[in-house]
């Protein structure tokens, strides 16, 4: 079963995007996010969709991204109504914007005159679309970059080895943590903890402490053991060390970087000439 997390977990595939230098990939994704972050209109969203679609197709990322649709839907359900209400009240209030629906009569104490305005609705949908596209761009990076490549990338950016190792261990132990959580759940169910009957919230409440506390203790014990095992193998003992992956720039990588920069330059020009949507 695919889950929302699958959209951020490396998927081994033999595609040009997977083989691309992680620095080039980071540049692409960072440029897209920057582009989406700088401006707030429909043209930007539509422009960003073009390279994103190309990346998803080249990297064969359709299937893992489908798993994240539920996450985005949930995000939309939480964010859009809240944004619409806030922007209808503060940024685009009735009188300055076209009212689509009146929620409370003006004479209501405290909350009188609440309405949904057309501009607030469009603006909120755009904010949501931009956020989703930023998340998809991040997904594209993580889906196609192995942990070894990620480590090499961070080291090439002069991030201290201690932080790189800590981050990489956190990623590497995620599946183990999942297995551990399953074992703990089974152990508690075998002692009669009822996680099958009642509503979802009720089950979550019952499961909370019996699942989280052993997981926490287990993670702490594992960390101590891992730390000792690493120290026993001379981790951090010498200032210089060799790496499994050393990044080498290939002609294809240069081409992608040039294309990305060209796209960005064009997008900026387009944005300046056309102006906000």
């Amino acid at each position: 079963m695919s889950t929302a997390l699958d959209a951020f977990r490396y998927q081994e595939e033999d595609t040009p995007l997977h083989h691309l230098d992680p620095r080039a990939k980071l540049l692409i994704v960072a440029s897209l996010i920057l582009f989406l972050w700088l401006w707030w209109d429909l043209a930007v969203v539509l422009l960003a969709l073009v390279p994103l679609t190309v990346l998803v197709l080249v990297g064969r990322l359709g299937r893992p991204l489908v798993g994240s649709l539920r996450l985005y839907a949930l995000l939309g359900l939480l964010l859009v109504p809240l944004n619409v209400l806030l922007h209808s009240a503060l940024t685009f209030p009735p009188g300055q914007a076209e009212v689509l629906m009146t929620l409370t009569p003006p004479e209501t104490p405290l909350l009188g005159g609440l309405a949904i305005t057309r501009e607030a609705l469009i603006f909120s949908l755009l904010v949501y679309a931009r956020l989703v596209l930023m998340l998809v761009a991040t997904s594209v990076f993580f889906l196609t970059t192995s942990l070894d490549d990620l480590e090499a990338l961070l080291l090439s950016l002069r991030v201290p080895y201690f932080f790189v190792l800590t981050l990489s261990l956190a990623f590497r132990f995620l599946p183990t943590l999942g297995e551990e959580a399953t074992r703990i759940r089974e152990a508690q169910v075998a002692r009669g903890l009822d996680l099958e009957t009642g509503g979802r919230l009720r089950r979550l409440w019952r499961a909370g402490i019996p699942l989280l506390l052993p997981l926490f203790v287990s993670v702490l014990r594992r960390s101590v053991r891992l730390g000792e095992a690493m120290e026993a193998r001379a981790t951090f003992a010498y200032p210089t060390r060799t790496n499994t992956v050393d990044l080498v720039v290939r002609p294809g990588d240069v081409g992608v970087v040039v294309a990305t920069l060209a796209f960005l330059a064009l997008a900026f020009v387009f944005r300046v000439i056309v102006g906000p949507a």
Binding site: M1, R183, I184, A187, A190, G192, I209, P214, V217
Partner: protein, 273 residues
């Protein structure tokens, strides 16, 4: 007359979600009042079979029945009341702040009265030599003690079938003997204890029936003394039990089973097994 099985497995198959077959057509009757050893090399399917017996996973094909009732009609919660399990790692279940509460967790889940809970917890704590530690913080105990807390916690539920996954791993001799005594007590009440283990000598000394798995199938099944004396155990990644191996070597070297030396060795190896 043969007793009615507590649990019956019929042509049980289990395939992991990624398509790897783990159990391939196991049929087994679990009779009351037995101490059973479930043995096999790593990855032979022992733990998966145990999870199937507890209802934590359901068969891809075949059936598991508790008495006359098919598991399909039961929730895991219902099954856990009759079939208990203690997993290898005690840290997977310990979460309360006193040993007493940890052992009382299961009985309380089934809504037993305070008096019943007190009686069961007291018995379990005495059985596993934990009475003096009853107010201690379980996570602060030693590995062997935490394992005993996990055993006591399942013992207090009084299941009809109790499965113990690698129960002797990391345990000293004294605790192993206590474990065997606990199994004796349970079987005397017509309950059945499964030891899922690689510890051939413990199985030889403490069980009367052995089931050996290999690649998800039952390779050998029968009286423990017969199964664990077989020289083809190596096919299942196991070695023969030390006691029969030593005695067989003595016989091969011409030492008569009637001789004083033979009887002395037999008495001593069986005493420490």
């Amino acid at each position: 007359m043969r007793s009615k099985p507590l649990l019956s497995l019929r042509d049980v198959h289990y395939v992991y979600p990624n398509g790897t077959p783990a159990i391939r057509g196991v049929s087994l009757d679990v009779l009351p009042g037995q101490r059973v050893a479930l043995l096999g090399e790593n990855g032979s399917g022992k733990t998966t079979l145990a999870r199937l017996m507890v209802g934590l996973v359901r068969p891809s094909k075949g059936s598991v029945r508790l008495g006359d009732v098919d598991y399909e009609t039961l929730t895991t919660h219902d099954i856990a009341r009759e079939v208990g399990i203690v997993f290898q790692n005690p840290d997977h279940q310990i979460f309360l702040e006193r040993v007493w509460d940890e052992v009382a967790f299961g009985p309380r889940n089934y809504g037993l009265s305070p008096a019943q809970v007190e009686e069961r917890v007291g018995t379990a704590l005495h059985e596993f030599d934990l009475w003096e530690d009853r107010y201690r913080l379980p996570v602060a105990l030693s590995g062997g003690e935490r394992k005993s807390v996990a055993f006591a916690s399942s013992f207090a539920l009084r299941p009809r079938v109790l499965l113990l996954d690698e129960p002797t791993k990391g345990m000293d001799y004294g605790r192993k003997r206590r474990l065997a005594t606990m199994a004796d007590r349970l079987t005397a009440e017509d309950r059945t204890v499964f030891f899922i283990t690689h510890d051939v000598d413990f199985a030889y000394a403490s069980t009367e029936r052995a089931v050996v798995l290999r690649r998800g199938r039952v390779l050998l099944e029968g009286r423990t003394r017969d199964v664990l004396s077989r020289s083809d155990l190596a096919d299942a990644g196991l070695h023969e039990a030390t006691a029969p191996l030593l005695l067989a070597t003595m016989r091969e070297r011409g030492i008569s089973p009637d001789s004083a030396l033979y009887r002395e060795v037999q008495r001593r190896v069986e005493a420490v097994s």
